[in-house]
C-alpha cells in the first residue's frame, strides 16, 4: 500500500488481464526461437514427458508406424467413452441388458458411444499386438531396453484382460458363453486354477457375482494398473535413451558440453562437464564432439507427428462407429448355449487350440508363449541389428517370431471362419 511501489493502474490491469493469466499459466510465449522451443517442452506439465530434442530417426513414420502412440490414444478414447457409458450402465443381471437396449433407444449418442468403445477396444488389442511385432522386428528390446519390453508384455496381458472383462458386461448370449468358456480355461491352470476361477466368478458359475466382479475389474482395478504400467513404459523410453535407432545415429547418453556455451559460474568456466539432455535448455545449442547433430526440437516436430497420429486414430474410430454397430445378441439364456459358442476373436486362436486339448491349448502353450515373450531380451543378447526393420543379423530371431505370429493368426482365422456347430470344420463360403 505504500506509494513508492505503485503497481500498474486498474485500467492497465484490466487491459493486460488476459495476457497476464495466459503467461501465469504457460510461463513461455509461443516459441519463436530454439531457447523458447526447448523451454516450452520443459515447463509444460503435459509436454514435459517429451524430450526437448528428438532424433530425426524417431520421427520417421515408416520406422515406428506410430503403433505405440495409437495404442495410447485408443486407451484415451476408451477411458473417455467408458466413463460416459458408466453413467448409464448397471452391473446387474436383471438390468444390464436393458441398459444396453436403452443405449440404443433412448440415450442421446448412446449407440455411438458404445460403438466407439467397442471398436476402440478391438483396435487396441490389435494395435498393441502389432506394436509388439514392430518392436521385435526392429530389435528394439535389446540392451538397454530389456525391461521396457517386459513392461510391454505386461501391458499386452492387461489389455487382453481388460477386453475380456468388458466382454461380459452387456450380459447377452455372446458375453455369457464367452466368459463361461474363458473362465473354464483358467480353471485348467495347475494347482491354483480352480481357486482362480472361483475368485474371478465369486460363485460356481457365471452369474450376478461374476458380473459385479468383472465390472469392478474392468472400470477400476485394471485401468489403474494399465495407467501405472503406461506411465512407467513412457518414463523408461526416456531413461533408456529414447526410441531405438540404428547404431550409427545413436548419440552417447550423456554428452560433453564445453561450459562456455552455457551460463555457468565463472570459476568452472574452463572445465569440461558432463550434462544430460537438460543441459541444452540453457544457452545456444552446442554441437557435441564429432557426431553430426541429427536431432530436431520436439516442439513442433514431435508434437505435430503425435497430433497427426491422434487425428488419424480418432477419425478411424469415428468412421468405424458410424458405419458399424457393436453387436448385441439375445439376452442371456442359461439353458441355451449358442452353437458354436465363440470367444472374442483375439481368443479364438486359444479356443481353437483348446478344442484339441484344454490344458495344453488353454494353459500350457499360452503359458510357455508368455514366458518366452518375457524372456526374449534376456535370451537374445546379441547387440547387433537394432533400429532397422528385419535386419539381416537378426534373421533367425525374426523368422522364429514371425512363424509364431503367423501360426497364432492362422489359428484365429480357423477359429473365426472355419468352425461351425459343435466346433466342426465348415467352409465359410
Amino acid at each position: 500500500m505504500s506509494d513508492t511501489t505503485k503497481g500498474p493502474g486498474l485500467l492497465t490491469a484490466v487491459r493486460e488481464f488476459p495476457a497476464n493469466v495466459w503467461s501465469s499459466i504457460f510461463r513461455n510465449p509461443l516459441p519463436s526461437n530454439d531457447l523458447e522451443r526447448a523451454s516450452t517442452s520443459f515447463t509444460n506439465f503435459f509436454l514435459h514427458v517429451h524430450p526437448v530434442k528428438v532424433d530425426r530417426h524417431t520421427l520417421r513414420p515408416l520406422y515406428t508406424l506410430g503403433l505405440g502412440l495409437m495404442s495410447f490414444f485408443l486407451f484415451l478414447i476408451l477411458v473417455v467413452t467408458g466413463v460416459l457409458l458408466m453413467f448409464y450402465y448397471v452391473p446387474s443381471t436383471t438390468q444390464a441388458y436393458d441398459r444396453m437396449l436403452d443405449l440404443r433407444g433412448t440415450v442421446a449418442f448412446g449407440i455411438f458411444l458404445r460403438n466407439m468403445h467397442r471398436w476402440s477396444a478391438h483396435g487396441m488389442v490389435a494395435v498393441v499386438f502389432l506394436h509388439m511385432c514392430r518392436v521385435f522386428f526392429t530389435g528394439s528390446y535389446k540392451k538397454p531396453r530389456e525391461f521396457n519390453w517386459v513392461l510391454g508384455v505386461g501391458l499386452l496381458l492387461v489389455t487382453l484382460f481388460l477386453s475380456f472383462t468388458g466382454y461380459l458386461l452387456p450380459w447377452d448370449q455372446l458375453a455369457f458363453w464367452a466368459i463361461t468358456v474363458g473362465t473354464s480355461i483358467a480353471g485348467y491352470a495347475p494347482l491354483v486354477g480352480k481357486q482362480i476361477q472361483f475368485l474371478l466368478l465369486g460363485d460356481a458359475t457365471v452369474g450376478q457375482e461374476a458380473l459385479l466382479r468383472f465390472y469392478v475389474l474392468h472400470v477400476a482395478v485394471l485401468p489403474l494398473v494399465l495407467t501405472l504400467l503406461i506411465a512407467i513404459h513412457f518414463w523408461r523410453i526416456r531413461k533408456d535413451g529414447g526410441l531405438s535407432r540404428p547404431e550409427a545415429s545413436a548419440p552417447a547418453q550423456a554428452v560433453t558440453v564445453t561450459v562456455t556455451a552455457v551460463a555457468a559460474p565463472a570459476k568452472e568456466k574452463d572445465k569440461k562437464k558432463v550434462y544430460g539432455l537438460q543441459g541444452f535448455v540453457r544457452g545456444p545449442f552446442t554441437k557435441v564432439g564429432n557426431v553430426p547433430d541429427n536431432s530436431v526440437f520436439s516442439w513442433p516436430n514431435l508434437l505435430i507427428a503425435e497430433l497427426f497420429v491422434f487425428v488419424l486414430v480418432v477419425a478411424a474410430i469415428l468412421v468405424l462407429s458410424l458405419m458399424f454397430n457393436a453387436p448385441l445378441e439375445q439376452p442371456v439364456n442359461v439353458m441355451h448355449p449358442p452353437n458354436p459358442a465363440k470367444a472374442p476373436w483375439y481368443f479364438l486362436g486359444l479356443q481353437e487350440m483348446v478344442s484339441y486339448s484344454a490344458f495344453w491349448g488353454g494353459v500350457g502353450v499360452p503359458g510357455v508363449f508368455v514366458l518366452l515373450l518375457l524372456l526374449v531380451p534376456y535370451i537374445d543378447r546379441k547387440p547387433g541389428g537394432v533400429g532397422r526393420w528385419f535386419a539381416s543379423e537378426r534373421l533367425l530371431a525374426n523368422t522364429i517370431f514371425l512363424t509364431l505370429v503367423l501360426v497364432n493368426i492362422m489359428f484365429i482365422i480357423i477359429g473365426t471362419f472355419f468352425r461351425g456347430p459343435n466346433w466342426s470344420m465348415v467352409s465359410p463360403w
Binding site: I185, G202, D203, P337, W423
Partner: protein
C-alpha cells in the same frame, strides 16, 4: 528413516559405546522395521484375498428338490438345464447326471446317443462316458435320494461313482 535418526541421537548420548555396538543396534532395528513392514504388506495382501473369496455364494444351492419319482416316467431322460443336471430313469432306477461339459463348462445337450456339447464338440454316451471331442473326463454323477416327504433330492455337492442308481 526414523530408525537411522534415533540411533544417531543414541550414539551422541552414549559416546563411550564402541562403534560396532551402536551399528549392531541400528542394523537390528533396521531389520525389525523391514521385517515388520514386509510382513504387514504380505498379511494385508493375503487378507485382501480372503476378503474377495466369498464365504457364502448367492447362486443356486447344491441340494435341491426336483419333484416326485412319478414325474419321471420310466425310460425318460429329462434335462433340467437351469440346475445343470439330467435325470435319467431306467425302469425303476434313477440317476442324476451332470450336464456341465467337463471340457469348458458349456451345457451339454441330450441326444439319442447320449450327450453332446455345442461349444467344442465333446460327445458322451448315455452314461456320460466320453466318446469323442476334447472332454478330458466323463460327466459327473450326483447323489440322488428320496426325502421323507416323498420328493427326490439331488445333491450336487456329492459326486458318486458312475453307474450308481437309486431304486424307487
Amino acid at each position: 528413516m526414523a530408525v537411522a535418526h534415533g540411533s544417531h541421537e543414541e550414539s551422541g548420548r552414549a559416546g563411550s559405546l564402541p562403534l560396532a555396538e551402536t551399528m549392531n543396534r541400528r542394523r537390528m532395528l533396521g531389520w525389525f522395521t523391514g521385517f515388520g513392514l514386509f510382513g504387514s504388506a504380505v498379511l494385508s495382501a493375503f487378507s485382501n484375498f480372503v476378503f474377495i473369496k466369498p464365504r457364502a455364494t448367492y447362486g443356486q444351492p447344491a441340494r435341491f428338490g426336483i419333484g416326485r419319482p412319478e414325474d419321471f416316467p420310466p425310460g425318460t431322460r429329462i434335462a433340467m438345464d437351469v440346475r445343470r443336471v439330467c435325470i435319467v430313469r431306467d425302469g425303476n432306477r434313477l440317476a442324476a447326471i451332470s450336464t456341465t461339459c467337463t471340457h469348458l463348462g458349456c451345457i451339454v445337450g441330450v441326444a439319442d446317443t447320449g450327450f453332446s456339447c455345442p461349444c467344442h464338440g465333446s460327445r458322451y454316451d448315455q452314461d456320460g462316458n466320453v466318446t469323442g471331442g476334447p472332454a478330458p473326463k466323463p460327466l459327473a454323477w450326483y447323489k440322488i435320494s428320496l426325502a421323507p416327504n416323498g420328493e427326490l433330492e439331488v445333491d450336487k455337492g456329492a459326486e458318486i461313482a458312475p453307474g450308481t442308481y437309486l431304486d424307487v
